[in-house]
């Protein structure tokens, strides 16, 4: 996995391209530990969000397995009344990027494009 500095650069690049980002983290899928993180709202507990989202991803993978689906999980979008939460599985599948954004000021298409673009080269 890329080091924290590189991951922070990716997080910053995404933030530069997208309006309304609340918090972003790169999370180790196995342990749910954050490898890099940045939050713009102090009340948003990114550590807790990262941990439980790792369970969410694992559960989704179990569902796919139970359904005998042979495809790969690429991303997950959760729509809240006022927020968008995007989970993007990183190349290699051992980590994911988790991003929370303010729904009213974020364009979903731009968000997805920026995340896909900047996450593609993480090794």
């Amino acid at each position: 996995m890329a080091n924290e500095k590189t991951l922070m650069e990716v997080i910053n690049r995404i933030e530069n391209d997208v309006n309304g980002v609340i918090a972003t983290a790169v999370v180790d899928l196995e342990s749910g530990m954050t490898l890099a993180s940045k939050t713009n709202r102090s009340e948003f507990d990114l550590t807790v969000a990262s941990a439980y989202n790792s369970e969410l991803v694992k559960q989704k993978m179990k569902i796919m397995h139970a359904l005998n689906l042979k495809s790969n999980l690429e991303d997950m979008l959760l729509t809240l009344s006022d927020q968008l939460h995007l989970i993007k599985i990183l190349p290699g599948g051992a980590a994911f990027l988790y991003l929370a954004a303010d729904r009213s000021s974020t364009n979903l298409a731009i968000l997805r494009t920026a995340v896909n673009k900047h996450c593609a080269n993480i090794s």
């Binding site: 924290e4 500095k5 342990s31 749910g32 941990a51 790792s54 042979k70 290699g92």
Partner: protein, 412 residues
């Protein structure tokens, strides 16, 4: 010291930062604390030197539905405080050894690694993983990573290596998360064997630890000498090299035997191929085949992705030493070659031979796990030294899983 704290729904692990004096232990823990947004507490220090420990309490991540609470502790490096260092090392679930990459520090690393191993060898339970956080990599005279690996080989140590520059915070989080994974592998082993303690941790705060250390110190001054921690000269720490017995030969890697075991396991598994494959028009279609777009079974020549340390828990054996081996494989360039029979093999860093037979491919983890367990049992029965080999079931990059055997090529 891992404890399952049911009341707080947390598994408590201790990560101990060890290393020679001035290697960067405190700097690393402080950088980690800054990155995690948690404060570091140091009970006492003198002129910037740690006298007891640095303490960082961090809860993050999930393990089997429990929060992961990490008690991150750095040990004092000064030789005069060896008793304290030993106490902390004995409580570790994983050790991050902060190595000094400067030529002078490199010698000290060797000495401290030796004494670290000496302590860990005396502890019961599943092995305690070590991550070598090679620090000060920004210095122009830093020794090369290959030199560090040679040193580790010479000491017969299986250690994951992560490069860092603690003053810049680079590589710190990576080493920590890797260490947590090793600790969780150990916790899983403790759970499996019924040895995982439950309840409130005996040491629940920095103050608890400080009191415990002060209490134990009175009667434990001789322990350091017994465990060669109270060294004053480097040569005191070096164990005499064992001369080979007259006529005895150097140990030879049992690559052929191990490969044979792997192939045997796969053969037995292949004998019970799934009904899907048996239902094809062909009399025998092995797992080395795949369906093409036209629905025909063709030989699968696609190169698999080599395994790395990111395989899920339970998919590598032995769990801790195996993941450490995989960390080196994953951080290296792996050139895989295919044999006529369809096996895939390669040599990594002139140290490891990795191999997967043509038929060691499974459509799911569930199908591959019995073969993994069977092979691990075969290894456990035939080899006492598990630091020189591992078996792993890993995703092959094409949606299937391969059983790999990794074997040490030569003794350093």
């Amino acid at each position: 010291m891992a404890v399952l704290d049911s009341q707080n729904n947390a598994v408590v692990i201790r990560v101990v930062y060890d290393g020679a004096p001035m290697a960067g232990k405190t700097t690393s823990v402080c950088a980690l604390g800054k990155g995690l947004g948690a404060g570091v507490y140091s009970p006492a220090e003198l002129n910037g030197r740690t006298l007891y420990f640095d303490w960082l309490d961090y809860t993050g991540g999930l393990f089997e539905g429990h929060r992961i609470r990490c008690q991150i502790v750095s040990a004092p490096g000064q030789t005069s405080l060896a008793v304290r260092r030993r106490q902390l090392l004995e409580s570790a679930d994983v050790v991050v050894f902060v190595g000094d990459s400067t030529p002078r520090g490199f010698d000290a690393d060797r000495a401290y690694l030796g004494s670290l191993c000496s302590v860990l060898r005396q502890l019961s339970g599943p092995p305690i993983g070590i991550v070598l956080q090679a620090n000060k990599r920004d210095l122009p005279d830093a020794v090369s990573i290959s030199q560090m690996r040679s040193m580790l080989d010479g000491m017969d140590m299986k250690v994951g290596v992560v490069e860092s520059v603690a003053t810049e915070g680079s590589g710190i989080r990576e080493a920590f998360v890797f260490a947590v994974r090793l600790a969780l592998d150990r916790v899983r082993e403790l759970m499996r064997t019924g040895e995982l303690k439950t309840g409130k941790p005996d040491i629940d705060s920095a103050q608890d630890l400080l009191e415990e250390m002060r209490r134990r110190e009175d009667g434990a001054l001789n322990l350091a000498e017994e465990s060669v921690l109270s060294h004053s000269r480097l040569r005191d720490l070096r164990e005499p090299e064992a001369a080979p017995a007259p006529g005895a030969e150097a140990p030879v890697p049992q690559v052929t035997l191990a490969s044979a075991a792997l192939e045997q396991v796969v053969r037995e598994e292949t004998a019970t191929e799934t009904s899907v494959e048996n239902s094809t028009p062909q009399a025998v279609v092995s797992r080395a085949h795949r369906l093409n777009a036209a629905g025909q079974w063709i030989k699968d020549n696609r190169q698999p992705v080599a395994p790395n340390e990111r395989v899920p828990s339970g998919m590598v054996w032995p769990p801790i030493d195996g993941r450490t081996i995989l960390q080196e494989i994953g951080s290296s360039q792996v050139q895989l070659n295919s044999s006529v029979a369809g096996d895939w093999f390669g040599v990594v860093n002139d140290r490891w031979r990795i191999h997967t037979p043509a038929n060691a491919v499974f459509s799911s983890v569930d199908q591959g796990r019995p073969a993994l367990i069977q092979l691990a049992r075969a290894f456990a029965a035939n080899h006492s030294d598990t630091t020189e080999r591992c078996v792993v079931l890993a995703e092959d990059g094409h949606g299937r899983y391969r059983l790999w055997q990794i074997q040490r090529l030569a003794w350093g």
